[in-house]
Symmetry: C2
DNA sequence: CTGAAAGCGCTTACAG
DNA sequence: CTGAAAGCGCTTACAG
């Protein structure tokens, strides 16, 4: 019998529906014999509570909303991997919401609220600080907790999980400087991702400390666009090291620079960020900052479960450690 | 005022809640003056119907369930990209369900049913035919339509969207044969993905037609595992062409074979599948079969909306065209 | 065109 | 420990 309801169970087990509900939600509040009788019927009928009805009655949907802008980015799918695994462990369902540009922001926020999720993992890192504040206020008004997942803001009152990208970027730049590199470029994105803004800050700081002018080259993540862009610029401008804000950008640059006659790493060192397959498959293998993106998703989801359950939390702004993977390109 | 309900709107607009509901769901059934008055109040209060309550009352959640096994695979995120865009266009929400191995299969299916989704996009392509049939039966019993998305089965009664991987694989093998290659390997996966089973079939057919023994080398998608695996085998076995069932496997193989002293493409041609960034970033650039994975997701979602709305459908088993992208590796 | 009422399948005080 | 009843916020025949 598909779709047995709580009435079917109650009838067959000779108890009221309140008791069936208790067996499911507060089993210790019901007498053991009754409980086992009910449990037997539940199993026999293959009963599963209707999640929607439960959500309406209890005002808890055990569902978290994931707000993102581009699911095809390598970092997004890694984040989702971590989120999904932990959500499953804690029996939360996952609902996906995508923002298509700024005009769609308000509409999406309102949709998320109307869908009655218990909590939100916010992964869209293309928003300005004032927009983030407004979003936070709206979810706060609707009483829905939110965790920024691999998204950086100044506002430390919003729970967040990320890597200290500024520090990571500072350190890797420093390392290149110490090896005597001077014409060091940061290859960043035209689109303003908050994670990349942090990388720009760390890089710039290290360069300035060394008395050098920061050189941030902004381009697209699309290879068909950044390849000619790199070629045009670097055929006339010297470079002896470059840091890509993403592995794929670093590899794309490395291919261009080799075609321009540079020897990597001797004449030009190249490093990336994230330690994706792009880094492992490139020739030469890419040295990069390994950022634990899967873990960021997992930890963020775990943090959100604690907040939703009103558990004690010592630190709402978690920074996960990064490491440098040294390969052949630097 | 956050969280206004339909009662608030009805009260303020001086109508019954039935009328408010109609304004939202059957606007033409209500008098224009009334409708505009209600609409004004809705806007003023920022009212949005509670999706859960609506779902319970109407027995339609306007939510589709996506069942997958590994969100971090490049093909999965591309599929999701297409799904998300079309779902948004048709105002469907998306719920994600992941299957962690066969033991978890039944549990996940039951969860999906209890969550009351209106339709299912099934992306897990690691299941055997009999398992697929059982799953289809269960969703059928629960009256939930399902579309197989980049998943292949023999059962043509289940709606599906994919590429004709067998044909694609047959053609690319044929092309290599015509160029005089003989020691052609298919680099496949140990894990039994249905899309790869098809590629194996097409490759084998072409080889047999040419009077050659098919050589299917099964390995892991993990570079750290397949690299030593390739090295060990191919240092003693000649190869003059290889087809990777994924771009990343093809690139990994290409790196190994070059380290073993082969010249690509002259001494060994290499081709891949999907036309991901891996193909575009590799040295030499990877020739590959471009499979429109994003489109598969989009078309599958569109097909599902038609089924959910009981629209007329001429073909429930859609095959999207593939193309060969010729680059430097073959 | 509009409203009163029942109902969707649960949970949760409240009594006992 | 258990049950009767109200209620979650909507939709949907049914009348009128």
């Amino acid at each position: 019998m598909p779709n047995a309801t709580i009435y079917d169970v109650a009838g067959k087990a000779q108890v009221s529906l309140a008791t069936v509900s208790r067996v499911l939600n507060n089993p210790d509040k019901v007498n053991e014999a009754t409980r086992e009788r009910v449990l037997a019927v539940i199993k026999e009928l293959g009963y599963r509570p209707n999640a929607i009805a439960r959500g309406l009655a209890s005002r808890k949907t055990t569902t978290v909303g994931i707000v993102l802008s581009d699911v095809t980015r390598a970092s997004t799918s890694q984040l989702l991997g971590g989120i999904i695994d932990i959500a499953k462990k804690y029996n939360y369902s996952i609902k996906l919401f995508s923002i298509n540009g700024e005009l769609d922001l308000q509409e999406t926020i309102r949709t998320v609220v109307s869908e009655q999720v218990d909590g939100i993992l916010f992964l869209d890192d293309e928003l300005a600080s004032d927009q983030m504040e407004m979003i936070n206020k709206q979810f706060d008004d609707a009483n829905i907790p939110m965790v920024l997942t691999n998204v950086l803001t100044r506002d430390k009152k919003i729970p967040s999980v990320a890597v200290d990208y500024e520090k990571a970027s500072y350190e890797i730049t420093k390392e290149l400087l110490e090896k005597g590199r001077k014409d060091i470029y940061l290859l960043s994105t035209v689109r303003r991702y908050s994670v990349n803004v942090e990388k720009e800050a760390g890089y710039s700081l290290a360069m300035k400390e060394a008395g050098l002018e920061p050189r941030i080259f902004k381009t697209s993540g699309d290879i068909a666009i950044n390849t000619p862009h790199f070629t045009e610029y670097f055929k006339n401008n010297h470079v002896d090291a470059a840091i890509g804000v993403r592995d794929s950008i670093a590899v794309s640059f490395m291919n261009v620079i080799e075609d321009l006659g540079y020897k990597v790493p001797d004449e030009c060192a190249v490093v990336g960020f994230q330690n994706t397959k792009y880094a492992k498959l490139s020739r030469p293998n890419l040295t990069c900052v390994d950022t634990p993106v899967y873990d960021i998703g997992a930890v963020a989801m775990r943090l959100l479960t604690k907040i939703m359950k009103n558990e004690e939390i010592d630190n709402i702004n978690i920074k996960l450690p990064h490491t440098v993977i040294r390969r052949k390109s630097a």
